[in-house]
């Protein structure tokens, strides 16, 4: 059984929604990313989603765009991210999801990527701009290597698309909570519960909700009807505002993720 599936099973017994936290690799350098992931795990984060920086992050709001720019300024590449995963895997069983835009994966080569990612110890891959229609090549290789193929669904998704994603996904299904780019939002107005329910009618997979989650209160609300709560921009903002104060950044990440983790218990 894959680590992602295993983790969801374990959490179901604890009656906790999985807390999945995002960090852009190399923001502002890969050493800090590694320390952040260690701190996250120690604070109750259940899975990590590591972002591969891209020059043209079309689906991201200003916060993750800026993180991507900082990570590129420190020349972080997909190979660097795979080395990071290898180091994490040498001491931890936390499920690792690689998250990014297609071009860096395509440039690396789908087959080579899938093999190297599995060898490094990654568990899943989510490519934002790769809907099931275009995912063929990467999916074939990812499946062969036992990597989960995580796809997005959005409030705009029709029944047809929910069905198509259900047929192609593994690990879990990622629901984008808003029609929009990534970024923390004070309120999430859409009736997400309904969307999650529609997906559950068609798929056995766990369903996680992300984009815009910025407080423990929101996390608790989402945890009540979904299998995972995904937090990104709110954490990236802590890194951004911390500047050179690394210990302070790590401390604030720890206390925020502890709070989020507590909120994920139902």
């Amino acid at each position: 059984m894959g680590r992602i599936k295993e983790k969801f099973r374990e959490l179901r017994e604890k009656n906790k929604a999985a807390l999945i936290c995002y960090v852009t690799a190399g923001d502002p350098d890969i050493d800090l990313t590694e320390q952040i992931i260690d701190h996250m795990e120690a604070s109750g984060v259940d899975m990590v989603e590591i972002g591969i920086p891209f020059s043209d992050p079309m689906a991201d709001g200003p916060v993750i765009q800026a993180a991507s720019e900082r990570a590129l300024a420190s020349s972080t590449s997909l190979s660097d991210v795979l080395s990071l995963v290898r180091r994490i895997r040498s001491r931890s069983d936390i499920p690792v999801i690689l998250f990014g835009y297609y071009n860096p994966f395509f440039s690396y080569g789908a087959e080579r990527f899938a093999r190297d990612a599995r060898e490094a110890g990654a568990d899943g891959v989510l490519v934002v701009d790769l809907p099931p229609e275009e995912a063929g090549e990467l999916s074939v290789h990812a499946e062969r290597e036992g990597l989960d193929r995580i796809f997005l669904l959005a409030p705009t998704s029709t029944e047809e698309r929910i069905e198509m994603v259900s047929q192609n996904a593994s690990g879990f299904i990622y629901v984008v909570s808003v029609t929009g780019v990534t970024g923390a939002r004070p309120d999430m107005d859409y009736n997400l519960e309904d969307l999650v329910e529609r997906i559950k009618r068609r798929s056995e997979l766990p369903v996680g909700v992300g984009f815009g989650v910025s407080s423990a209160r929101q996390a608790a609300a989402i945890a009540s009807f979904s299998d995972a709560v995904i937090v990104g921009s709110a954490l990236v903002r802590i890194i951004e505002s911390g500047g050179e104060e690394r210990q302070e950044v790590l401390g604030r990440i720890s206390s925020f993720t502890e709070e989020l983790s507590a909120a994920c218990y139902r």
Partner: protein
């Protein structure tokens, strides 16, 4: 020459031109692209849609544009006979209006009340703002901050037309980033917003749709040259940024393998310098802005900044169908430098009394190289994609 002897039928149902094209976008946009494609397919089968577009093209945009025999240019170069397809004479001063009228009418049919667009040189922004004014739609134009400076006149024109111009400060602050920002707006406001993409780029159905709307250039040129010369031209030449004016001229001739087609990219400071926009000439295959196509990128798959003196060519991607044409050998892609383009800008102004856009000047520059090597019985048709008023400021500081 071209290998297409069978009937050409790309794109396929998923928007692919061979290995290129497709729909590489986030899930939030997929339903919108599918809705757009359905609306376009329905409209394309409806005679009244074409009638409405034809009406505006004729009565509003001033089509057909002339196919002008450039006698002085021909004599000055001493070789092939040169014709200019005068898109500079279309309303707003460039070919961009052909596309914005088409997409604008489609937007009206779909009942969306807000229009957004990206722009580089500002010509597409002006053409979009114009159509938004005509059709009474709210309009927001994204433009790289760098471009708002070098194309100041067009920024003013857009504002005058009632559009809001949002300068984009992310990334390279040019066309590529303007397109990222327009996509982000569209993702956020997809329910009431129509995104008018300005070239044969982006996810399906845009490359196909823009090609169809711009094909009026080549259809008219074919009719006109047959009347003027009783035969087809030997060579077609057009500049290639995203590739819409080139596609518009070439596409109606795609089954005519005896007609050579040349797309001219911007070599900036020279292809070896690394500061250029010669995507097909010097790039490699990748995925950007929703389609698989040739790109300027580094070894990690990060998209690199382009460079051209012509803001409208300053783009590190190219329409996916051009990538297909490159690999299939249907079109030859060449490049000319900033310096050659600036020289051609002055040349056409002096010789013919026509000030071309700096983008267009790239096509002129290439013809200056090839026309003297051809015989007087041979015919070249150049797409004079736009007029140069917008570039006077840039050119006066460089010439």
């Amino acid at each position: 020459m071209g290998k297409t002897n069978r009937k050409y039928s790309y794109p396929d149902a998923g928007g692919h031109f061979g290995d290129f094209g497709g729909r590489y976008v986030s899930e939030t946009l997929m339903p919108a692209l599918i809705e757009l494609q359905k609306a376009y397919d329905e409209a394309a089968a409806d005679e009244t849609f074409h009638e409405e577009i034809d009406y505006y093209l004729k009565q509003y945009a001033g089509r057909p544009t002339p196919l002008y025999y450039a006698r002085a240019m021909t004599e000055s170069l001493g070789g092939a006979k040169i014709y200019l397809k005068r898109e500079d004479l279309a309303h707003t001063g460039a070919h961009k209006i052909n596309n914005t009228i088409g997409q604008g009418v489609l937007c009206g049919r779909m009942g969306k009340d807000r229009i957004i667009a990206e722009t580089g040189a500002g010509q597409h922004g002006v053409a979009t703002a114009t159509v938004a004014a005509l059709l009474n739609k709210e309009c927001v134009i994204y433009m790289g901050e760098e471009d708002t400076k070098r194309q100041e006149l067009n920024v003013f024109r857009m504002k005058l037309l009632g559009a809001e111009v949002r300068p984009v400060v992310s990334g390279t602050k040019t066309l590529k980033d303007a397109m990222n920002e327009a996509m982000r707006d569209w993702v956020t406001n997809v329910r009431n917003t129509f995104y008018i993409i300005g070239s044969v780029a982006g996810p399906h159905p845009y490359p196909m749709m823009v090609r169809d709307f711009q094909s009026v250039i080549g259809c008219e040129a074919m009719e006109q040259i047959l009347v003027a010369e009783g035969k087809l031209p030997d060579t077609l030449v057009a500049c290639v940024g995203g590739g819409s004016n080139a596609m518009g001229l070439f596409f109606p001739f795609i089954q005519e393998s005896g007609v050579r087609k040349i797309g001219v990219e911007a070599a900036g400071h020279g292809v070896e310098s690394g500061l250029h926009s010669a995507t097909i000439t010097a790039g490699s295959v990748g995925v950007l802005h929703g389609s698989k196509t040739y790109l300027l990128q580094d070894e990690d798959g990060q998209v690199q900044g382009a460079h051209s003196v012509a803001a409208g060519l300053d783009y590190p991607g190219v329409g996916p169908e051009h990538s297909y044409f490159q690999d299939a050998g249907e079109v030859d892609y060449v490049s000319v430098t900033d310096e050659e383009a600036l020289s051609a800008f002055s040349f056409l102004s002096e010789v013919e009394g026509i000030i071309p856009a700096l983008e267009t000047a790239h096509a002129i520059a290439h013809v200056r190289k090839i026309a003297p090597t051809m015989s007087p019985e041979q015919i070249i048709v150049i797409c004079l994609s736009g007029r140069g008023d917008k570039d006077i400021h840039t050119a006066s500081s460089l010439i």
